[in-house]
Structure formats: structure tokens, C-alpha cells
């Protein structure tokens, strides 16, 4: 557990901090996520999904749930199963979780056109639904759907993720 914390603590806290800001809940999200991983350690299968990928997914879910409950919104948690983190996702996080990879991930996000970056950031870091994003930005829902998809397609290509055919 200590090794895992050494390896992912900064990345995990960085993500929780981005979502929740300077507050005890950012620490709570990180602590809860590490504990979740520890409780499920026996079920984590290294041949399917990597612990780090699972951990970062849990940090994200916990932080978004805390943010939504802070705003009086319903949590949108779905039960987390390590088996749902597929090898492809694990590989992506392995690559972006190096400091070079993380810089590349930030650059990939920064280089998106603003009209695509904005809705993606609202979805991922603010936990908004596409309906909420459309309201916040004052654009039609269909536009939000296509911008989310186009932006994510660009991120996919920047990360070098192959499309399956």
C-alpha cells in the first residue's frame, strides 16, 4: 500500500484537488480511494487491469460524488468493479502516469479547441451531465454531444490509442 501511495499519491491528490479545490474533502477522496483499492486488492487481477488505473478511476468517482453532494446534487456513483478496468485503459494510464506522460496529457487537453475543451473539462472535472453542460454554456444539447465526442476523439488520437475495428 505504501508503494502504491508513493507511486500514485501525487497524481491522485492532484486529480482530487483539481476537482474539489483546497478542502479536506480532497484528502478524503484520496484516502477513500486508496482504502477501496486496498479492500479489493485480492480481486485485482494484474493480467486484466492495473491497480493504478483502478485507483485513479476510484479517485475520480469519489471526488465527483463529493463535489456533487456539496452542490446538493445526487451522487452518480456506479458500483466499481476492478474487472471493468480493461487492459487498454490500464495501458493508457500506465503511459500517461509517468511525469512525461502526464505533461503530454495536459498538453493534449490544452491543445483542444476551446469549444471542445470546455465541455470536456466541465464533464470530467466538474462532474456535469451533458444536459447541465448545455445549460451552463447556453448551447444546444446536440452541440454538446458532438463536441464531447470530437474532443475525446482527439484525446484518443493524442494518447495513441488504437481504434478497435
Amino acid at each position: 500500500m505504501e508503494l502504491l501511495y508513493e507511486r500514485f499519491g501525487r497524481l491522485a491528490f492532484g486529480l482530487a484537488y483539481r476537482i474539489l479545490g483546497e478542502s479536506p474533502s480532497a484528502e478524503d477522496a484520496v484516502q477513500e480511494a486508496f482504502l477501496t483499492v486496498w479492500r479489493q486488492a485480492e480481486r485485482l487481477d494484474p493480467a486484466r487491469g492495473r491497480v493504478g488505473s483502478f485507483l485513479m478511476t476510484v479517485v475520480h468517482h469519489k471526488a465527483i460524488d463529493l463535489l456533487r453532494s456539496r452542490h446538493g446534487q445526487a451522487a452518480r456513483s456506479v458500483p466499481l468493479d476492478p474487472a471493468t478496468i480493461e487492459a487498454q485503459e490500464a495501458d493508457v494510464l500506465d503511459r500517461v502516469a509517468t511525469s512525461m506522460g502526464a505533461a503530454a496529457a495536459r498538453e493534449a487537453l490544452r491543445s483542444l479547441p476551446q469549444e471542445q475543451r470546455e465541455p470536456i473539462e466541465l464533464a470530467y472535472f466538474e462532474g456535469m451531465t451533458h444536459v447541465e453542460i448545455a445549460e451552463a454554456l447556453g448551447v444546444p444539447l446536440g452541440t454538446v454531444k458532438s463536441r464531447l465526442r470530437l474532443g475525446l476523439e482527439r484525446m484518443r488520437s493524442a494518447f495513441g490509442i488504437e481504434r478497435k475495428t
Binding site: 507511486r7 499519491g9 486529480l15 484528502e27 493480467a47 451533458h130 454538446v144 454531444k145
Partner: protein, 234 residues
């Protein structure tokens, strides 16, 4: 919900940006429909966003609190706070394990594919059902890099590397599986032109914390004697 609607929602779905009810409709559709193979790639891209936030040093007290909580839960469950140690195993001369031919062929195909490029996505299964999955990319921050592919059914890890320095005849690269801080030698290899090499090792990766590569005398050492040139957490 039809396939066109699913495709329209793919980005929002991958980002978990759908209201509960819509999410359920999408998932019901995807459970029965195989016509949306690119959604997994979008989900992988969304996961990469986790690294797009700036890293930040957590307050020191957080680690102490976390380790306390782990110890408390461990005591309550009568469980060790760390993974069970690897079964004690003596040093044994590494060798290509005896494999059923299909598994060996699959492993060799993976070795070849692994050397083609960094972004190759590997998840193959062959007729015999020997599934192999890329589990880890290694890098040392310099010119050397590699990857490990795990053939789970065979307990076989296939490592490919490139960019490692050539060694004199009396030296070899040795691979270590480190568990609970204890290294066990699991293989030796030399590099060919371009610093390339591949090695297959029989190892249960579920009990291993770290895989590392060091330079050792040609016959291998019982314990590492130099700093790792490559290492990765498992």
C-alpha cells in the same frame, strides 16, 4: 435507443456525463450490441484525463492517516497490511519454459508485435485460449524501454526491451521479481543489435510488486549487485 443515438452519445457516455436514466439506456443497448467497438477507445481516452490535472504533493498527514486506517482494518479482519509474500523459492537457472506449441507461438507473436512500436495495443487470444495481455510498459527515462506481456494461462511473462547497452561477454542482464522487498532472479538475457532482447519467464505476477533488470555476471547472481537499469511496479 438505436445505434445512431448511441454513437451520438458515445463521448458523453465515455466521460460519464449522462444522467442516470440515459446511462442505463446506453448500457442496456451496449450489453446486446457489438457495433460500437470504438467506445472502449474513447473510455480509455477519458481515463487518460486523470493525468491531465497537475500533480500535487498531498499533505504529509494524509499518508499517516491512510496507513493507520489500513492497519486498523487489517487488524479487524486479521489480514496482513501488505500482500502475502512470494513463496520462498531458491535460485534456479532460468530457461524457456516448456510450453504447449500454441502458447509459445502466441508469446513469440507478442514479442514481435511488442517491438514494432510503443502504441501497439495487444490483447490477443489464440485458438487454444491462451490469453495474453500487455500489463506494463517500462521506461528508464533515457533511451531504454520495454514492455511485459503476461500470458496468464501459462503464468508466463514475456519481456521485450530495446535501447539497452551491449554488455561484455562476462556480463548479462538479469531480471528480478521483487516481492516484499525480496528479489528473486527469474531470467537472464543478452541484447542483440539495437539493444534489443526478449525473454520469457515463468512467474506468478499476482504475487510480485516490482520487476527490475540489473547488470550481473554472465551466470547470474543470487541477489542484485548493481542498481536497476529498468524497473516497473506490477
Amino acid at each position: 435507443m438505436n445505434c445512431a443515438e448511441i454513437e451520438e452519445l458515445a463521448g458523453a457516455y465515455a466521460l460519464r456525463a449522462l444522467p442516470e436514466e440515459t446511462l442505463r439506456e446506453v448500457e442496456n443497448h451496449l450489453a446486446d450490441c457489438t457495433r460500437h467497438p470504438d467506445i472502449a477507445a474513447l473510455q480509455a481516452a477519458a481515463l487518460g484525463l486523470a493525468a491531465a490535472a497537475d500533480e500535487k504533493e498531498p499533505p504529509p498527514a494524509l499518508k499517516a492517516r491512510l496507513m493507520d486506517a489500513v492497519r486498523r482494518e487489517a487488524a479487524a479482519e486479521g489480514r496482513a497490511a501488505a500482500p502475502a509474500p512470494l513463496r520462498p523459492r531458491g535460485w534456479s537457472w532460468p530457461a524457456w519454459p516448456r510450453l504447449r506449441p500454441y502458447a509459445l507461438a502466441a508469446a513469440l507473436a507478442l514479442v514481435a508485435a511488442g517491438l514494432l512500436g510503443w502504441n501497439v495495443y495487444l490483447q490477443t487470444s489464440d485458438d487454444g485460449g491462451g490469453e495474453a495481455t500487455l500489463i506494463r510498459s517500462l521506461t528508464d527515462g533515457g533511451g531504454a524501454r520495454g514492455r511485459i506481456v503476461y500470458v496468464r494461462d501459462e503464468g508466463l511473462a514475456v519481456m521485450t526491451v530495446e535501447g539497452l547497452a551491449s554488455l561484455p561477454d562476462d556480463k548479462a542482464y538479469q531480471v528480478w521479481a521483487i516481492s516484499e522487498g525480496r528479489p528473486t532472479g527469474i531470467g537472464l538475457f543478452d541484447v542483440a543489435e539495437g539493444g534489443r532482447a526478449s525473454a520469457a519467464m515463468q512467474v506468478d505476477l499476482t504475487a510480485v510488486d516490482v520487476i527490475a533488470v540489473t547488470v550481473e555476471p554472465a551466470g547470474g547472481s543470487p541477489q542484485p549487485t548493481t542498481a536497476p537499469v529498468l524497473s516497473t511496479e506490477i
